[in-house]
Structure formats: C-alpha cells, structure tokens
C-alpha cells in the first residue's frame, strides 16, 4: 500500500516538471513502467549525431529520463523555487472521498472554473453536476470543495476565479451524505 502511494508520488513528481500539457494527460516521458527513454520524435536523435549543433537547436530537446543526473528530491526542491520566482505554479493537494491517495494540481494552468472541473473529472473519473449560485451543485453525488486561507471549507465556484486561485489551499471532492449540508439537491 505504501508502495502504491509512493509510486504515485513519483509519477507526480514528474508531473511537476516544466513541460507543455495539462496535468492528467498521458506522460510522454515515462518512468517506472518501462525504462525505455521515450523520445517523442526521431529528430532529436539526429541532433545528437551532429555534435556541433547542440547549442543552435531552437526547439528544446525532449527531456531524457534521468538526465542531467540530478536527484528528483533536489530537482523538486529547486523547482518550487523556480515556480515561485517566475510567478508560476500554485500546486494544491486534491483529495477525493474514497480514493486511496491524493493528487496535486497546478491551479495557474487553468483560466476558469469549467477547465478546472473538467480536469478534476478526468483525474478522478467522476462527474460534478451543474453549478447553481443558490443551490450549489446538482445532479451528482460529488461536490468540489476547497479550504481557504482562513481554514474554512468552501464550495468551489462561489467567488471569482482569481480570488479562488489566490485563496485556495487545498481541494476536496466530497461525496455522499456529507454533501447534503451544502444544499445539494436530491
């Protein structure tokens, strides 16, 4: 059990690397499943052959697994710093009732609520129903909530997006009976 959690954490560490693509999409460079270095295209192979060209290549090379040889522990410590210094990346934990382990997502990747919802739905394989200002989420057993800076649990969607991103500390997708208190229909 610990192992599964740790494997997931390892995969998530990969997810925090700077790369194009939303979280939750298929990894092109995999670790763990197989040790094949997955080079997305052959062009990069050819770049390797001609030694003089390395510095003039304009598209950045696909990242090779484990190269340069910096431990992931160190990479991630510095990565957080880079994100913060570049004003990027606001990673929050996402838990879902009943799921064995948590995930992490970068809120700054999204521009508005529907994008976030879609990503969460994909990640945890559920549907969130429709949001209503008065009644909250209807049509599903699942309700997305978040913990804000004051430590209170709020319904996702009530405040403007920017305010949400700056005050959200962690997300929790609630399920079932607890959900009734938030005024979800049924």
């Amino acid at each position: 059990m610990e192992k599964v959690g740790d494997y997931d954490e390892l995969v998530n560490l990969k997810a925090t690397e700077l790369r194009l693509g939303l979280p939750g999409t298929e990894e092109t460079v995999s670790c763990g499943k197989s040790n094949k270095r997955a080079l997305p295209d052959d062009d990069t192979e050819k770049e390797i052959e001609s030694t003089g060209k390395t510095e003039t290549a304009s598209p950045p090379k696909a990242q090779i697994v484990g190269w340069p040889p910096v431990r992931s522990y160190r990479r991630n410590s510095i990565q957080t710093k880079k994100n913060e210094s570049e004003g990027q990346g606001n990673y929050v934990k996402v838990s879902m009732d009943g799921a064995p382990y948590l995930r992490k997502i970068d809120l700054t990747v999204y521009k508005k609520y529907p994008e976030l919802m879609k990503s969460l739905e994909n990640m945890f394989k559920f549907s969130v129903g429709e949001y209503f200002e008065r009644e909250g989420y209807k049509g599903s057993d699942f309700v997305p909530t978040y913990e804000d800076k004051d430590g209170d649990w709020m319904l996702v969607g009530d405040v403007p997006w920017e305010m949400f991103v700056s005050s959200c500390k962690r997300l929790r997708i609630m399920k079932g009976s607890e959900v009734k208190g938030l005024g979800c229909g049924v």
Partner: protein, 626 residues
C-alpha cells in the same frame, strides 16, 4: 571535521580499504566440522610460548592440564581482533583459516553490507553473532535518476525482522537507498531497547507516523538523521512524540521532511536535549522560529537553518536581531538549509562565517552579489556546496578566499540540457588555481574546455573524486570543438590518488584508453553517452584493477565488451549498464558461466522485435559483503 564531511558526502565510501582478492574463499563458507590440528599448526608457529602462558591464566574455561588448543588460540584471537576496526582488515583476518573466521565473526560488532542482495539476512545472523551496528545499502545509484522501476526492492523488512530475533542489543542502523515502511520502523522501535542511532539516506516508503514511533519508543535515541529521503506527510505530530524527560539526542536532522511541524513542541524538545549538537530543520521552520531556537541552543555545532524566510509580512515593529542569535552560536562550524532563502537576511550569518568548515547553499538561489560578501569571510571552509547561480564570479570569490577547500559541489539551478549555464571552464580554472588542496569535486555546467580540466589535474594533485557533468550530451570542448578526451585523460594521469571518476561531454575511445592506462586506483566509474565502440569498455575492464563499481548508461558497448570483463566481475561490487547494446543471450551466457554472479535484466521489451535487446543490466557478486 571528518564527521561533518561524511554527513554531507552523499556517496562517501570507505576509501581506505583496498579491494580483496576474494575468489572462492569468501563465497564458500568454511565447513563447520571441528578444526583439525592443521589449523593449529598454522597459528602455533607464530605464537611464542609467552602468549600461551598469558592465555592459560586468563582463559575463562576450566583449567585443565592441557587446554584444547583451539580454545586457547581463539581466546588469544578474540582479544586481539577486538582492536581491529577496519572492515577490510577484518575481512582479511577472516580468510586466514576456519578458526580465525569463527573468532572474527564472533567479535565483529559493526557490519557493512554494500549491496543488500549480496547476502541474505539469515546468512548475516548465522555468521555474525554480536552485531550492534549495521550499515546497509540497497538500490544502485542510478535508481536516483528514475532508471529503475520504483518497486524493484531493497526492502528493509526482511532485515529488521531477522535482526529483531538475533540482535536484541542492536544500537545502530544506517541505510542508504532502501525501501523502509512504517511497519519496519515500528518493529525496529519495539525490538531494540538500547537503540541509539537511526540514519536514513535517500530512503523512501515511510512517513511521519513511522518516525513518530521511533521518536516515542527509542528512549536511548542519540541520532535521528533523515537525509534526502522521501517522507510522506501522514499529518502526525511526530515532534511531540519524543518522551517528556531529558533526551539523549545529539543529532536531529529532518530537513527533507516535507511536512509542517509543531514548533512549540520542537522548542521544548531542544530545550530538554542538552547533548544536542546537530540540528537540521526543514523548510517549515521560519526565520523567527529559528531565531528562538538558536537563542536556546548555543551549543550547536551543525545547523540546518530551515526556510530562512518569513511566511507573512514581517512585523514592522521589532524585527528579531538575527545576527545576534548567530553570534551566540560560537560553536557552529557546519551550516546548511536556506531552503526558501530571502537573500536580504543572509548577512545575519556573518558572525559564524569565520568559523565555518562546511557550508551548504545548494538549495539557495543566490546571486554573485549576495554571495561574495559572505564567502569572503569563510577562510576556514573545507566543504562547500552551492547552486550555479553564484556564477563563475562567485567561484572566483571562493578561489580567492577558501584556501582550505577540500570538497566542492556545484549543482544546476536549472537542470536541463539546454538551459543557460552560469558556470563554465572559467569557474573551474579559478578553483583549480585557488584551492590547491581540493580532494573532491562535483561540477555541473553547460560548457567546458580541455584546458581547464587539464589545469585542474595539474593544480589539484590531491584529487580523489572528480565528477564533471557537462549537461549537454556529447558536447565537445566549446572553444576547440574537440572531444573532452584530453581533459579526462589528464585527470587520470596526473591525479595519482584518484578513486572515483564521472565523465561527460563528447568522448571517444581514446578517453577510455587513458582511463585503462592510468586509472590504477579508480574504484568507481560513471559513464553516460560516451565512447565509440566496445574497445572503450574493454580498456577500462582490462586496465583498472581496482574497479569495484561501474555504472554506464546510453553508450555503444555490446556483448564483446561485456564478455571481455568476465574475469573481473567476481571482484566487483556491481556493474550497471543501461541503454547499451547488450543482448539477452550474452547475459544468459555470463550468468551460466559465473554461478556466483547475479545477473539481473530489467525492463526489456516484451514485444517480439526487441526481445533480445537488454534495456538494463545490473549484476553483482553473490555472497560477498564488500
């Protein structure tokens, strides 16, 4: 000082021990039949009558007119062997004869196992009866770079459960790259009442709940060092789990624990730990909190400063006098941390700079301007780790001031192949000219020249460890456009004490020819994206008699090269080759021809076209403890 260095050195090994020619002796256990007179003759010749007289009076057995010769000799041996500390010496002594094997085994209290799969826990406890300290290493180093499946193994569980029954007096466990669970830690805490030291380096599989159990149950705990390990946040207040009375703690390192801690409890713990000398905080301890801790613990010699920043806006009223807190720490010689450094507060450490022998800035993105005023005070510095954000300019400042420097590590702030490289041959050259006592260097850069590497080989003759990582694969000397052969060649040729080498950049077979010709003391070699042909690997396997650990990735070495080293593998700790040109057939041949070798093939393709291709080969010697 040595203590602090070994704390920081990630891959430090006992450099003193020359390799043993173990052959079959170590692998075949001596039979347990009663010793014959032949063993007696061997030893008796060298033992004069004098000692026999001594022994018969001190022997604890019944005094008969003719004590059994074995018992006499074994008593002598026991008394003598207890003074042998070095494991190399002990290994040698154990090979003399059965009697010596037995006595050595019964007196060895510190056991070092370089590869946890080379020996089973059962064999360990069968051979050694009085172990109080175990050092155990698991996964090979390339596992750190995601080149191994995460569930590969190196589990601590079988070790702890076996030792729980056989070594109730166990005091120390030091693990590196092992998979340790909370259950393992719980068993450890319950089974060893006198347990004193737990050191976990680059381990994973456990969380704060496991740590809490150790903190709570190991009442004699002196050392709890969690170093670069992955510790899951179980949301347990483990700091509060230490017992209420005065503790025996001498060293507490938790800088890698990515979880908030109860500061009040920590403060209380430090206050009731009068022997605490080493404290390494994680990034959830702010500057203000650090200040309070320092005022209460002026006896510290080694400090990891935590975040070195604030969360909220600093209170506009009295900001604590951080420099005063550091001034009070007259004994601090080793400084690290700075996990979320706010550079404007860095001057607070000025008071301790002049005393520092070890400084780790490798998590701090410091510019040259912020860095230079600090380093200019650090005249006694021997160990220095930093990010390349200090630039060549910062390295020049190091070279000007740190004349006692022994170990330098420069890590990349942006660890990608095509990033900007703030350090280059300029910094390396400066260091080589200013720090002539340098023994160990790890240097990440984007561009390098042979000239600078040659200069280092000529200026720093004390080098034992040279690890240069030019981050762009196959990158040549950026001034001449030539391969880096001459540079690395000069290193193996001129640095006569070199035991560890890691190469990079564009390298042809010539570089390996140099290694084979001159690298006579090299024990550890790391190769990546280098060489042209099998000849390269052959040069090394045929020319480096002391080679113990060989790790190669993405290089064009095939079956012929692998076969050429058959005569060597029994005498090596391990060989790792990934993404080379090996075939399954060859690996099978080697496995069948060398029964003592464990040949593991990892992660090869299942689909038919590539079935013969070996993605990763990891092989090691079975039955040798090294």
């Amino acid at each position: 000082m040595t203590q602090d260095r070994s704390e920081m050195s990630e891959d430090d090994d006992d450099q003193r021990s020359p390799p043993l020619d173990l052959r079959s002796a170590a692998i075949a256990e001596p039979c347990s039949s009663s010793s014959s007179s032949s063993s007696l003759v061997v030893v008796a010749d060298s033992t004069p009558n004098k000692s026999r007289n001594c022994i018969s009076s001190s022997s604890s057995g019944t005094l008969t007119s003719q004590p059994f010769p074995d018992h006499v000799l074994e008593n002598v041996l026991e008394n003598v062997l207890q003074f042998l500390d070095s494991r190399c010496d002990r290994n040698a002594a154990s090979l003399v004869c059965k009697s010596w094997w037995r006595v050595e085994a019964s007196t060895r209290s510190e056991v070092f196992i370089g590869n946890c799969y080379a020996l089973s826990p059962a064999r360990l406890t069968q051979r050694f009866k009085r172990v109080s300290s175990l050092v155990l290493k698991g996964k090979p180093r390339f596992a750190d770079f995601n080149l191994m499946p995460p569930d590969w193994g190196a589990n601590f569980a079988p070790w702890v459960s076996t030792m729980a029954k056989s070594y109730p007096w166990l005091e120390k466990v030091d693990l590196k790259r092992m998979f340790v669970t909370d259950d393992d830690l719980a068993l450890l805490a319950e089974s060893f009442p006198g347990f004193k030291e737990l050191i976990l380096v680059c381990c994973e599989g456990f969380g704060t709940s496991g740590i809490a159990i150790v903190a709570n149950k190991c009442r004699k705990l002196k050392v709890l060092d969690l170093i670069e390990s992955e510790v899951t946040d179980d949301e347990v207040d483990w700091i509060s789990c230490f017992p209420e009375d005065v503790t025996c703690l001498e060293s507490l390192a938790f800088d890698c624990v990515e979880a908030p801690i109860n500061f009040k409890a920590l403060e209380g713990l430090v206050a009731r730990s009068p022997f605490l000398k080493k404290l390494r905080l994680n990034r959830f301890v702010s500057l203000v909190e650090l200040h309070r801790l320092l005022l209460g613990a002026p006896q510290l010699t080694s400090l990891g400063t935590g975040s070195f920043s604030h969360d909220e806006e600093p209170q506009s009223e009295q900001e604590p006098d951080y420099a005063a807190a550091f001034r009070a720490c007259k004994s601090v010689v080793c400084l690290s941390g700075f996990r979320e450094l706010m550079p404007e507060y860095l001057p607070a450490i000025y008071p301790v700079c002049a005393n520092l022998t070890s400084l780790n800035f490798s998590y701090a993105n410091i510019s040259p301007d912020m860095f230079k005023p600090i380093i200019q005070n650090c005249h006694k510095l021997q160990v220095f780790w930093a990010l390349d954000s200090i630039c060549d300019e910062g390295l020049q400042a190091v070279a000007e001031t740190c004349k006692e420097l022994r170990e330098l590590r420069i890590f990349p702030f942006d660890p990608r192949e095509d990033s900007e490289g703030p350090v280059s041959e300029v910094g390396l050259q400066a260091i080589s000219e200013g720090c002539r006592k340098l023994e160990s260097i790890l240097y990440f850069c984007q561009r390098m020249t042979n000239a600078a590497v040659i200069a280092m080989s000529e200026n720093c003759t004390e080098l034992t460890v040279f690890r240069l990582c030019i981050m762009g694969r196959h990158r040549p000397d950026h001034v001449t456009g030539k391969p880096m052969d001459e540079g690395f060649g000069a290193i193996v040729k001129n640095c006569k004490k070199l035991t560890r080498l890691a190469v990079s950049g564009l390298l042809t077979d010539q570089a390996f020819r140099y290694m084979g010709e001159y690298g006579k003391l090299v024990r550890t070699l790391s190769v990546a994206f280098a060489g042209d042909s099998d000849m390269a690997l052959r040069h090394v396997l045929e020319g480096c008699p002391r080679l113990q650990k060989l790790e190669i990735r993405d290089s064009p070495f095939g079956d012929a090269a692998l076969r050429s080293g058959m005569h060597r593998y029994y005498n090596m700790r391990f060989v790792w080759m990934s993404a080379c040109s090996l075939s399954r057939g060859c690996c099978k041949d080697i496995a069948s021809e060398m029964p003592n070798l464990v040949v593991e093939v990892i992660g090869s393709d299942d689909d038919d076209e590539n079935r013969d291709y070996v993605e990763t080969l990891y092989m090691w010697n079975n039955g040798c403890m090294f």
